[in-house]
């Protein structure tokens, strides 16, 4: 009777009111969101710019100043260049800022008066000036250097001008990706050897030289790798090839059903665990109204998700997994990704060769006839085709020979005889069988086309553009200052007794810092450090002010071309969220790891 009354007077039930208010809140929130989305759709209808993702597959027709592809063939590729540029600054910047920040933090704790005061001075200057002003100032500083045009054409070891900085650099060859993966593998192996020797030392108590073992094995493996051993990792390419073929052969509906089943399974597990927890001795199988609501809510969410997966949302996700026209064009679907890995990481990697500039006036090349055919083996310098150089102004043709740049087996010929292609576009694919992964080269200054302007050659040495330099230095310095505060606070948080105990045990100062203070300080430092890394990643977006083509700048160029502002904004949001999540999960991983060591 009593319980019946309880449900009869449901409007006075706290639990009911609680959930009712939440559902009303959710409904209100969704209705506001829908209202603005509705506005958007009417506005799109009236301005004739329909919301669409098509621009991702279309050729944007603009060039990018620097990055992986300077002439992107699709909107997606263009965004990809921006993302990579942003990641380039973020990753190198995080390392540099950490090192610089740690040094500054230690300097601020120094007993040396002048060192401490200078570090504090830098801190107060950098921290209190907007980052944008600093970046613009570094840009202005580089622009005061002499113009590149006053330098002679030729090869230099180091060169600085108003166009940026250039220095020697090991440039990547087709085998480079294979070697880099191999290198990471070797690092891991050396680390494992080190750990194994340390374990032996701890178990048996004899000197086992862990560092020596690790270093020697590392050097030996790297040397073996350099002379061809790196091809071991080609197995990754082989597996990726199988995966790519496998993914393509599965129909999209399979994934939609798979996701639905997984969702139902997880929902079932969660609900079952919840019900089981209620059966424990403590809970005695009593369900409150709140619990009923929770179970109902779970079911509703599962049903909604399954519905989503079986309709257009699921279809578009499965397109990404199976690959369709759009993803193929943009090289973005999962099969294409695996296919790309297969090409780069096979025993003998595939490489697309671009048409190179034969002389300054060359704009296009036209193939007269191919000397080779798919399957024929070539050495470096072998003749591949007869071709014409085409100069833009009067389409004047000069005959010349195209020679092979790499040794290997010709795989595909992209260009038919009698057709022409712009400089910088790919015209045949080769399976590279020989050659070093990296070649060290010095920067070279060359003429830009027929104009009086000069530039650093892309293929020799490394060039830091003004935008990259200004953004990098600005962001690194700014973050380093905040990291120095984190480091200082972290070191100060270690109890004084710790270092005193170390000193009384006869530790040297450096060993004291390395073995006692820093390991304890890191625990305090990690979470705020992670925040600074996130800020660094977000601050790279200021590169747009100095014309550095990172994701925001590239996105802006793209929507100026296509008028699709909303999709670009969504891409920004997804990209930055992914980067932030990655950084914070790495930090959390280490945080957890350090905590386990502690207790």
């Amino acid at each position: 009777m009593k319980s019946a009354l309880k449900y009869l007077l449901f409007f006075r039930n706290v639990v009911f009111l609680k959930w009712l208010s939440q559902i009303v809140f959710l409904a209100g929130f969704i209705s506001i969101v829908l209202r603005y989305l509705g506005n958007a759709s009417t506005n799109f209808a009236s301005t004739n710019i329909a919301f669409s993702w098509d621009f991702l597959g279309e050729t944007p027709g603009v060039s990018i100043a620097e990055g992986m592809y300077t002439l992107p063939v699709s909107g997606l590729q263009m965004l990809q260049v921006g993302m990579l540029n942003m990641l380039r600054i973020t990753v190198t910047g995080i390392f540099a800022a950490t090192i610089l920040g740690t040094l500054l933090g230690i300097a601020r704790l120094s007993k040396n008066y002048i060192v401490e005061k200078s570090a504090t001075g830098i801190l107060e200057i950098v921290r209190n000036v907007p980052l944008l002003v600093q970046i613009l100032f570094f840009q202005a500083l580089i622009l005061t250097l002499p113009r590149l045009e006053v330098s002679e054409i030729g090869t230099y070891t180091f060169h600085a001008s108003a166009k940026g900085l250039a220095f020697p650099w090991p440039n990547r060859e087709p085998n480079a990706v294979l070697f880099m993966v191999y290198f990471v593998l070797v690092l891991y192996i050396a680390n494992q050897i080190f750990k194994w020797r340390v374990r032996t030392l701890e178990k048996e108590g004899r000197e086992t030289y862990p560092t020596l073992w690790a270093v020697v094995s590392f050097i030996v493996l790297v040397v073996i790798g350099w002379y061809g051993g790196f091809r071991v990792v080609g197995i990754i390419g082989l597996i990726a090839g199988f995966l790519s073929t496998g993914l393509e052969s599965v129909p999209g509906i399979f994934y939609q059903i798979l996701f639905s089943v997984i969702t139902v399974f997880i929902g079932f597990r969660v609900t079952k665990r919840f019900i089981d927890s209620k059966k424990s001795e403590e809970a005695q199988g009593i369900y409150s109204d709140d619990d009923y609501f929770k179970i109902i809510f779970n079911v509703v969410i599962v049903v909604l998700l399954v519905f989503l997966f079986l309709t257009s949302f699921g279809a578009s996700v499965s397109k990404f997994l199976v690959g369709d026209e759009l993803t193929y064009k943009a090289d973005w679907g999962l099969p294409q990704l695996f296919h790309g890995i297969e090409n780069k990481l096979y025993w003998f990697p595939m490489h697309d060769v671009e048409i190179e500039k034969e002389n300054v006036e060359m704009k296009k090349a036209e193939i007269i006839n191919w000397v080779v055919e798919p399957g024929s083996k070539v050495e470096v310098g072998d003749k591949i085709a007869d071709a014409y150089i085409i100069r833009k102004p009067n389409e004047e043709k000069i005959e010349y020979e195209i020679v092979a740049k790499y040794a290997g087996t010709i795989e595909t010929l992209y260009l038919e005889e009698g057709k022409s292609l712009k400089v910088g576009e790919e015209f045949y694919e080769i399976q590279v069988t020989e050659g070093d992964p990296f070649t060290l080269s010095r920067p070279r200054i060359e003429q830009t086309g027929t104009t009086k302007f000069k530039r650093y050659s892309d293929d020799y040495g490394k060039k830091l553009s003004v935008g990259y330099f200004a953004t990098w230095v600005g962001v690194v310095l700014y973050t380093a200052i905040f990291i120095s505060e984190v480091v200082r606070a972290g070191i100060m948080a270690v109890a004084k007794g710790q270092s005193e105990a170390g000193l009384s045990l006869g530790f040297r100062r450096s060993a004291l810092l390395r073995l006692i203070v820093i390991p304890q300080a890191i625990r305090v430092m990690l979470p705020p450090m992670g925040n600074q890394y996130l800020n660094l990643a977000k601050n790279t977006s200021l590169g747009i002010a100095v014309a550095f083509p990172e994701i925001v700048a590239v996105g802006q160029t793209l929507y100026n071309q296509e008028g699709q502002t909303l999709p670009v904004f969504i891409v920004w949001m997804i990209f930055y969220s992914t980067v932030s999540l990655t950084i914070s999960s790495i930090i959390n991983f280490y945080n957890r790891k350090l905590k386990i060591v502690e207790r």
Binding site: N39, P130, L132, P146, V150, V552, T565
Partner: protein
Amino acid sequence: MDLEYKKSIAWIRENLFSSIPSSILTVATSFFVLGFFRGLFGFAMASDKDWLSVLNNMQLYMVQAYPEEDFIRVWISVGLALVFAGMSIGLWKSTEESSLSDVFSKFLKVSLAFLFFTVVAPTFSSVTDNDGIIQTEESFPMETRLQLLIPSAIFVVVFFVLKNVKLNYKFNKSDLLCFYLAIPIVLLWIIKLPTIQLDSSNQRIIPDPLMPIADTTKIPWTIIFGLFLAFYFIGSRFKDSKNMKRTMSISWVLLPLFIFSWIFKKPEIDLPTILGQDIPIFIGIFLIGALTITFINNPIVEKYFSIYLGVLIAITGIALFISIPILLKSALLLLVLFTIVIPAVSSSAKGKRNLIIVWGVSLFTLSVLIRGGSSDTQIIVQQQSIFGGFSLTWLLAIFGTYVSFPLGVLLALGRNSKLPIVRLVCTGIIELTRSVPYITWLFFASVTMAVFLPEGVNFELVVRVLMVTAFFSGAYFAENIRGGLQSIPKGQYEAADAIGMSPFQKTSLIVMPQALRAIIPTLVSSAITAFKDSSLVTIIGLIDFLTIGKVIIGTQSIPVNFVGHDRENLLFIAFFYWIFTFTLSRRSMKVEKRLGLGER
């Protein structure tokens, strides 16, 4: 004297040359520091720098295109701020005293810095010409150096002696501050600065003639300083009055709003609207609030109070989405907020009377601000907005903080709520907003936001940027406030529950005051970040302080050619921002110390 000498030798040995690495570090760092200053001075004094491009454009920097005939409004704004400052310094007059030797040691420091400059500054500086050839020129000749060196050395000696002669005079620190502030005012009347003069063919006369500072600058500043002093003395009269202090704090909060909506803007005053619309709304809403306060203890009212509140909230919720005067909307919102607070206030007759006065004053202030803020300005400018230069930077920083703070509180409470859906939505909003850099939100404001607005509704770019800024810094504030909420011990919640407080009372009277007190330092640093971040609007083409220096002056060719002089302007901008943020962070550290934060 001998003992002091030995002391200082011991200090140097201990702090600079305690060991070999330390000595190496000392030498290396001194080398770098000297190199930095020599580079900086050489950079500043090279002949290709034109510092007049900064000096000559001060007006542009501060108010941009604001018309000169309305400059009295700018002066009133500055004057009001300084009068308030004087009053506050007087009210919160320092009890500390400093001796005369402290004062002289300050002067000694300044003259030492000057001596350092004259000794360290390089004689030659290098200029890169267009052909890339680095040319060296004498920018600081020996004669000039000697001319400066001798007086500064004399000053150093004089102040050193004065500092060490133990004079037993003590001054109040606040009085001293006024004295220091008087120095630049006096200097205004004495010094002469180089100015740009054009000859008949509009060519610049070189060298720039020295001229005294214009009357239009020094007379207003002197008057303002006089008022500052006057209010300083008035304030120190009332330094024991708690009410005055409270009034002053609230006035500070309202001052920027008042300046931006009434003084700087010069709103169009439309009498019929005020008489026919504003006054009835004011009277109506005021009466509702006043009646509620008066009859709150009546048993019938008490019984149906929650229903009344619910109806009120529902009406306000609907009112926000229909087209009625904005004054009515905001007055209703204020009424709702007030009605929620009423039961928490004491029920004595005096308490009620005070509450009615507070209610009337706050409603009146709101009406005045809304009327001023929503009316069209009568100041005609050629640019997109009357706000430009430093006034825009201030507008963005202050309004960003104003609107985002309550938003941050709401989001933080939502994220801390026990209701899972509310928590999920608030967490989603906070994290999505924070995951993207500010600049992308600015692009959202400048290009994407128009898509989401109903047809026919269009805001100015400045307003859109303000909306986005409020949201963005709101999400950051929310995270800070959440940190404060988590620092409150559970016992506080339980104690509030034990004495039967409603969730609202618990939050507003127990939790929030403690949480906010605990995070004052973080809030100040967030506000500083907002101030610094306001410079990003230059990327989307708003004309703020940075845009003036970097873009406008850097490309200015009429009447004087300043093309390419953006480096000195950037240095100036950096210095200007630095002064503000540095002072703010130092003040907040002092406030923190005074509140005893982190010592409980």
